[in-house]
Point group: C2
Chain length 171, copies 2
DNA sequence: CAGACTTGCTTGAACTATCAACTTCTGCCG
DNA sequence: CGGCAGAAGTTGATAGTTCAAGCAAGTCTG
């Protein structure tokens, strides 16, 4: 199974140091455990995975509780395809409905239904509790701030817009 | 915020402050983007998702390149069921094989094959690069250390062993 | 040593994610 | 206008995840 003899990589790669490896392993472990934990909590209590819950929250925060599909996808950092499937499922559950966009016939709005809003209202406390217990209650204020900054940096580096991010003269 | 008849929850929940919300949103965005990014990179280059790659790494680091299924699952922070499916797939790809455990007839070893080791060798540099670019190259040494500590704390709080962690008299 | 319980691991069904088409519509350029 | 590139969103096939249930082998208890 020869795929390629390492093209575009002349010299020895910069392996992670022991310290970096420890950090990275901790990152993987924490994120794996936390995602799993929140998914399980929300699946059990609210009947949907964490990311679907996040979609409902985004809609609830939006004017008229609605958002164009593409906007919602961008905001949740997922592909349009994934969102399409997700909204289909949320529609089946009665928590979201689609509406045509009058100004662009290709467009669709995802709209939070009253039922969807109610589900959110009912399960938000439990979810906040879970997040608190797993994260905020265990960190000092300094660590919380640091976490925010670090995550902001990582996210920025991965934004799809990154392509042009090194062309500051275009901004 | 009137949340009215909240059953099984006497007092008003402790909502996240604005600051906490910002941190939390950054966390979700960064982890979503990063997981996606690494999955895509490894799927494209090595033909497997990130977590599968992690399993091969664990095996490679283990004595005789083998680990009991349960050990591997614990170490990767996933369920045995998920591991079972994963190993089945890795077996099909020829990167892992199963072996019976002589001392416990219920037991199975997952063993990294030579092909598996080769795949790892070939694609490790690209993966390390991706991790560096997304994370370590963007953080100061202090931030790296802070990230490690924070993630360690979160992971510890979510270890399955947590159940008995507040019953020290049992230890 | 029988029975009950636990551990180790697997299985199948239902669900979710990904990837590559595909449809429809918009904006643009001549 | 006519044509065409690109955007918005969906779809279906394939792959991965979850959950509950299951089997078989080990362990404990009386």
């Amino acid at each position: 199974m020869k795929t390629a003899p390492e093209p575009a990589r002349a010299d020895e790669p910069r392996w992670l140091t022991d310290q970096e490896q420890r950090v990275w392993r901790s990152y993987i472990e924490a994120t794996t455990l936390l995602e799993d934990h929140l998914d399980r909590q929300l699946q059990r209590d609210a009947g949907m995975p964490h990311i679907y819950y996040g979609l409902l929250v985004k809609l609830a925060e939006s004017p008229h509780r609605r958002l164009r599909m593409t906007e919602l996808a961008k905001s949740a950092k997922i592909t349009r395809s994934r969102l399409s499937h997700a909204v289909a499922r949320l529609e089946k559950s009665g928590w979201v409905r689609r509406e045509d966009c009058p100004s662009d016939k290709r467009g669709q709005f995802a709209v939070l239904t009253d039922e969807g809003h109610e589900v959110l209202r009912r399960h938000a406390p439990g979810h906040v509790d879970a997040v608190r217990q797993a994260v905020f209650d265990r960190l000092t204020p300094e660590q919380q701030e640091s976490l925010g900054e670090i995550m902001r940096i990582i996210a920025e580096g991965l934004e799809p817009s990154e392509a042009g991010a090194d062309l500051p003269w275009l901004r």
